[in-house]
């Protein structure tokens, strides 16, 4: 789960990472009055609080030179969707004059199976871009979880960025705090980009924290947020998530249901390989009951992009007869709103086929034939 910039900065401040002075602005609040109360004078940066990448480029961050200007810009940003998302909150901050912009992040390195600290002199741009264009400008240190990040490691990275004196000390403090946040909050990512180099120190101009979804039970205050609100998911994706399904919307027209993440992805790829376009990813998981199968079908009934539904089931732990019962139950309850093409094989296959046949559905054994049929029907509709 991604945190908003203002939430991440509150955590940063709590852990002693320098952030610009500022405040959170809600839609009906008076920015002039708040500027006065916080004793902040323009120029100020006004930043749309939406959880999408490339917010700056999309016009979600503006500098106001006067108080009047600030009021106008705030009004404008509240009504400006950034990549389709309208902010509920703006962050207003004192502009920070600075000489250079650095990059610092901590994430989990999958290959080394340890946290890795990444820093670069080239802050302010995407780390992906630096990695592609100038990989030699990224410095990294892998962290033994039983030792943690130590001061000397942080200083070593700071030296590589050309820092010295007081700045080096501040840099060490910042990295150690980031690591503590990474551990305390079950971070997938803790990132400062850019980290501004000022006349007397360093300031985190932006802040990003992503928390491991599987660890949300340890962070109840964050877990209660509705996933749809964050803009990471569409409404239907969020609904499916609440029902416990992994569901991702795509752009094609062949609705996909599979059992198991790998098989579901492979089914999307199969449709593509045969000349069609998958509309979604929907995994019913292992050992799904008839009830679950019915719920899954109802999600795709509600999903307008899916013109047909292609179910690819390999029965292992999942039983074909249960799947068949679920399909029949869904049709009974809400009618067959869209053509359903079923490929069914594995555990209790014969029983599953019989149940479907009685309901007037013929299941395929060969997945490629089934995919071709689904693609053809989607084209005809």
């Amino acid at each position: 789960m991604k945190l908003y910039e203002y939430e991440s900065k509150r955590i940063f401040a709590k852990y002693g990472i320098p952030v610009p002075r500022g405040f959170v602005l809600e839609r009906d609040a008076d920015i002039k009055e708040l500027l006065k109360r916080h004793e902040i004078e323009p120029p100020v940066a006004i930043k749309s609080q939406v959880l999408v990448g490339g917010r700056g480029k999309a016009g979600g961050i503006k500098i106001a030179k006067t108080v009047e200007d600030a009021a106008k810009i705030a009004e404008e940003l509240f009504n400006k969707p950034i990549k389709g998302l309208l902010p509920k909150i703006l962050l207003v901050e004192e502009a920070v004059p600075h000489e250079a912009e650095l990059y610092a992040s901590i994430t989990m390195d999958r290959a080394h199976r340890r946290p890795v600290v990444l820093v670069s002199r080239l802050g302010g741009v995407d780390i992906e871009e630096i990695a592609k264009e100038k990989p030699e400008e990224i410095h990294r240190t892998y962290i033994d979880p039983w030792i943690g990040l130590r001061g000397y490691m942080a200083r070593g990275l700071g030296k590589k960025l050309g820092l010295s004196g007081k700045r080096l000390q501040v840099f060490e403090r910042i990295l150690l705090a980031m690591y503590q946040i990474f551990v305390d909050y079950d971070g997938d990512l803790v990132e400062i980009n850019p980290l501004a180099v000022t006349s007397d120190g360093l300031v985190a101009l932006d802040a990003k924290i992503i928390i491991d979804d599987n660890a949300l039970f340890r962070h109840p205050e964050i877990a209660k947020r509705d996933p749809a609100e964050t803009g990471e998911y569409t409404e239907l994706e969020a609904k499916a998530q609440r029902l416990g399904f992994a569901f991702v919307e795509l752009d094609g027209d062949v609705g996909i249901i599979g059992n198991g993440a790998g098989l579901t992805m492979a089914t999307m790829d199969l449709v593509y390989e045969r000349g069609g376009k998958p509309a979604n990813f929907l995994d019913i998981g292992g050992g799904a009951s008839a009830e679950r199968v019915k719920e899954a079908l109802k999600i795709l009934y509600e999903f307008p992009k899916a013109k047909v539904i292609f179910m690819n089931i390999f029965g292992g732990i999942t039983r074909c007869d249960e799947v068949a019962r679920g399909i029949v139950a869904a049709i009974k309850e809400v009618g067959q709103k869209k053509p359903i093409i079923v490929r069914l094989t594995g555990t209790n296959e014969e029983e599953g086929r019989r149940i479907l046949r009685e309901a007037g559905l013929e299941a395929f054994i060969d997945p490629i034939e089934a995919a071709d049929k689904a693609i053809q029907l989607a084209r005809e509709r």
Partner: protein
Amino acid sequence: MAILIDRDTRVIVQGITGKEGSFHTKLMLDYGTKIVAGVTPGKGGREVHGVPVYDTVEEAVKNHGADASIVFVPARFAPDAVYEAIDAGLKLVVVITEHIPVHDTMRFVNYAKSKGTVIIGPNCPGIIVPGRIKIGIMPVSPFKPGNVAIISRSGTLTYEVAAAMTREGIGQSVAIGIGGDPIVGLDFVEALEMLEKDPETKAVVMIGEIGGDMEERVAAMYREGRFTKPIVAYVAGRTAPPGKRMGHAGAIISMGTGAYQDKVEALRKAGIPVAKMPYDIPRLLKEVL
């Protein structure tokens, strides 16, 4: 012996009294797996399908001797179960549990390494040596004994590929589901190091997916001659968009790594054929065998 386990491997089931643990204990016993004991804290003294249950792994090992364990314990308590198995001296721990926080996994995987214990998983179907033993939850009908190993990041897809191979008369020396999480214990490279030395394995099917760089590391290993038997690969997620988790926590293209094209290109450049569909794998295998 194949790799990691064989007929004589003595297995403990952690979380044996739970629904999943009990159900799969029965299926493993039916397949011939030597399950010598089960563990559920607070339920010591019972029996599940004739298997004695203990409160601690230590007692179970002391009374029965054991080499491996399989963990069905819920995510919040699974790390504790894994540490317990490592500290009891077990050499292999198969973690079926899904949704374990990645920081927890990272720590127990590092600890296991320092103690010389191999972890398979988490979020995996386990390991099977067809015809001899399974420590896992996979259905057994798709598998038959043979000399091609399967290593895979996905459960169901493994069964699908095994069934297709078996239909074409190609059996398996071993099949390992390494798990769908961002951080797992045994990875492809380590599994291949073991399979290189396994006389029963003549070729390998690798079923990868988007996310991470494990497939790229296999490509490098193969190119450098550190694995010399034929490999046939499939990578799931060609049509998956970046930044979205595709079911498995680890199946996500992020921070510029994990894309399908990068993986397939690396594998092909190294000389590893990549199947466009999982159903093409038996045909590609016949070409390299």
